[in-house]
């Protein structure tokens, strides 16, 4: 096939659940490529020599090579190619902001002058990973002889899972300590089932268990064991405890009944499965009108979860305009299709309640955009006198999360920055405490799955060097 023929292949569309149906279930929204579609889509790749996609993938997957294998129908080989760089393709294929990474500068999109025309790298990555799961055969790599070294991994989010996977394949013994009763971190408690089925996270964890990684749940490091105690039992420690501290706005009424942090709302819904209440025991308020404050993926997940819990109106209020929203385009589109309403350029001033302390509304003030701030986004400025009240029963605060302070608080010799994140060197995650490495959101602040994995990957390499050669 020549380039012209490749460019003539129409971009393949993944079938999606009908919005009217999907707001009543927890099933995934995009339903995946059929094999022949995947092959077609992979054939659209021009196999660039200097491939921008590889450069723009934070873990540098050899994208043209894996796409060529998909095009040949050799899905198994394609998956191994991806797994050289990325241990969690079924997850990244779903949640990576691909349009800003691997797909951003795709040659196909450039030639066809349409961002939508980029080769769907993420969807193909998802396809091959799903294909493997559907065969029921798990390809396990051959493990080298045991080194006799032991590593402790704190936190089972994408950073911790990556470190565990890399170190076990280098012959070390690995134990993962997780505070919650289930693994996955945000993948399990934050990102909803309809965007990332939990069966996938379970599958990846089972894979690591098969390789010999030991998982200990209900284990809060800093409480049941200190980092120093871990260092007595293990040759190296990785801290991947995430950015689990919810930010609040500090406005009046924020502690009323019916005001939730996105973390609480999503944890109840996802980790505790309260969408199945009363078949399971954890309750969640099923409100008719829900306002979500924020404009990121977390806000989209909250607003869409509220709809699935039966909200008649689910409204996102965001203080800047649509262009500044940090959420992925696909998530915003899905939210809109499902009927989520957006109020732009408004900011909450206070939350109102009835005599029993239950939320009845939220007072908003209109904003206009001023000069760009440090983040490069135009700073919102309130317009005095423009206040108005939006009547709602539940308010979800999704304005961001900060690094989890538990370990830094209990381990004063690990240095942190002014936002509470652990300071670690970018090359290998070394902290100020010898033998202790860190990566993911606890270092970066709330970031992304693939960045957390990238950090985990580099830390695992540095831990390997440290455990085998004592290099610090």
């Amino acid at each position: 096939m020549n380039a012209k023929e490749r460019l003539a292949i129409p971009p393949q569309h993944m079938a999606e659940q009908d919005p009217a149906v999907r707001i009543h279930n927890q099933n995934e929204v995009p339903m995946g490529f059929r094999p022949e579609q995947a092959i077609q889509e992979a054939n659209r790749c021009l196999q660039c020599k200097k491939a921008a996609c590889v450069v723009n993938c934070p873990v540098g997957i050899d994208i043209p090579a894996f796409l060529a294998l998909v095009a040949q129908g050799d899905f198994r080989a394609a998956l191994s190619k991806i797994k050289e760089k990325n241990m969690l393709p079924a997850i990244c294929g779903r949640v990576c902001p691909q349009e800003e990474q691997c797909q951003l500068q795709c040659s196909v999109a450039k030639i066809l002058k349409s961002r939508e025309a980029a080769v769907s790298v993420g969807k193909l990555e998802r396809f091959v990973a799903d294909w493997e799961r559907s065969t029921g055969v798990m390809d396990l790599p051959k493990l080298p002889p045991k080194t006799g070294k032991r590593a402790a991994v704190v936190g089972s989010g994408p950073a911790g899972l990556t470190v565990a996977g890399d170190l076990i394949r280098l012959g070390h013994e690995v134990t993962v300590f997780e505070a919650l009763h289930k693994p996955g971190g945000v993948l399990t408690y934050g990102i909803p089932e309809f965007r990332l089925p939990k069966e996938i996270v379970d599958y990846e964890v089972r894979y690591l268990e098969k390789l010999g990684v030991e998982f200990k749940y209900n284990y809060v490091i800093g409480k049941i064991k200190s980092v120093d105690e871990l260092l007595q039992e293990y040759d190296a420690v990785f801290i991947g405890t995430g950015a689990g501290l919810p930010n609040f706005m500090n406005i009046p009424g924020e502690n009323l009944i019916g005001v939730f942090s996105a973390n609480e709302f999503l944890t109840r819904a996802n980790l505790m499965r309260s969408y199945d209440f009363p078949a399971v025991d954890t309750p969640i308020i099923r409100a008719d009108r829900v306002a979500t404050v924020g404009g990121g993926n977390v806000a989209m997940d909250s607003a869409r979860t509220a709809l699935r819990l039966g909200a008649g109106r689910s409204i996102v209020v965001y203080r800047r305009s649509r262009q500044e929203m940090p959420a992925r385009v696909e998530e915003v589109e899905h939210a809109e299709q499902e009927g989520v309403e957006f109020h732009f350029l408004v900011n909450p001033k206070r939350i109102l309640s009835d005599a029993d302390g239950r939320v009845t509304g939220i007072e908003l003030i209109r904003m206009e955009l001023g000069e760009p701030d440090a983040s490069g986004r135009r700073r919102p400025i309130p317009l005095p006198g423009s206040e108005f009240i939006l009547e709602v029963d539940v308010v979800i605060i999704a304005i961001g999360n900060s690094p989890n302070p538990l370990i830094p608080r209990e381990t004063p010799d690990i240095q942190t920055n002014k936002w509470g994140g652990i300071i670690a060197d970018a090359a290998g995650g070394r902290t100020s405490k010898k033998g202790v490495f860190a990566g993911g959101d606890i270092v970066l602040g709330a970031a992304t799955v693939i960045l957390a994995m990238g950090e985990g990957r580099r830390a695992a390499k540095a831990m390997h060097d440290y455990m085998t050669n004592g290099v610090w």
């Binding site: 505070a179 284990y219 809060v220 689990g244 973390n263 944890t267 009363p278 025991d281 989890n404």
Partner: protein, 280 residues
Amino acid sequence: MLPELYTILSKTVIAPRVTRFDVYVPEIARKRRAGQFVIIRVWEGGERIPLTIADADPQAGTITLISQSVGKTTRLLAEKQIGEKLQDVVGPLGTATHIEKWGTVVCIGGGIGAAPLHPIAQAVKGAGNYLITILGARTRELIILEKEIRAISDEIIITTDDGSYGDKGLVTESLQKLIDSGRTLDKIITIGPAIMMKMVAETTRPFQIPTLASLNSIMVDGTGMCGGCRVTVAGQVKFVCVDGPEFDAHQVEWSEMMLRLNTFKEYECRLSANGKEGRE
């Protein structure tokens, strides 16, 4: 052979709807300190609920939990038998009570509050304080741990609402009498229903007696991740699970804390409705 983690090794009903369990979790048994708690789940679809570590036996590897059946989870827990396992036990959570030698300390436990009070009272006594305890309940049979607490107290006062045992009246009336007697009271520690702790705070406030209360807000994770347990203390938002559970009772916004306990009331009633015993 060692028991499996989370196995219930003993169980006693110590008062109507109040059950005491010894659960096998050796690492928590070794590590826990007075004032800390665990979060448990009873079954796969169960809620995560906090319970204070009432006591621990590091040799046997067990922690003692004392639970009052008020809703679905505590009722399911009460049905668990010796030899069965809990689904999950995570801990020790929360900040341990800061104990020093203050002088004369009054520990006030209301109802089930006597259970979390016990380890703290023990530590208070252990630090060389003169310990006065006040245990209150609605009626005689709801007074728990009297024997254990009497054994460590220099003085003990029992009150019941109906006068069936000890003084008739509320714990705050006995506390007021102690204050009125002119004795120097250096520290008050109170655990019980929110309304009782609030009244204790109001009783000691005019006399500026330092008063600690152990808050029982609704929790999910217990690690500072969800913010569901938040309360306002001295005008600042605090997370009970990591910053607490103990706070300066004079600085807690009690009305807010009490309202928040009602967050899921209508849903909890639905759960209890198909259970054997309803909510109290």
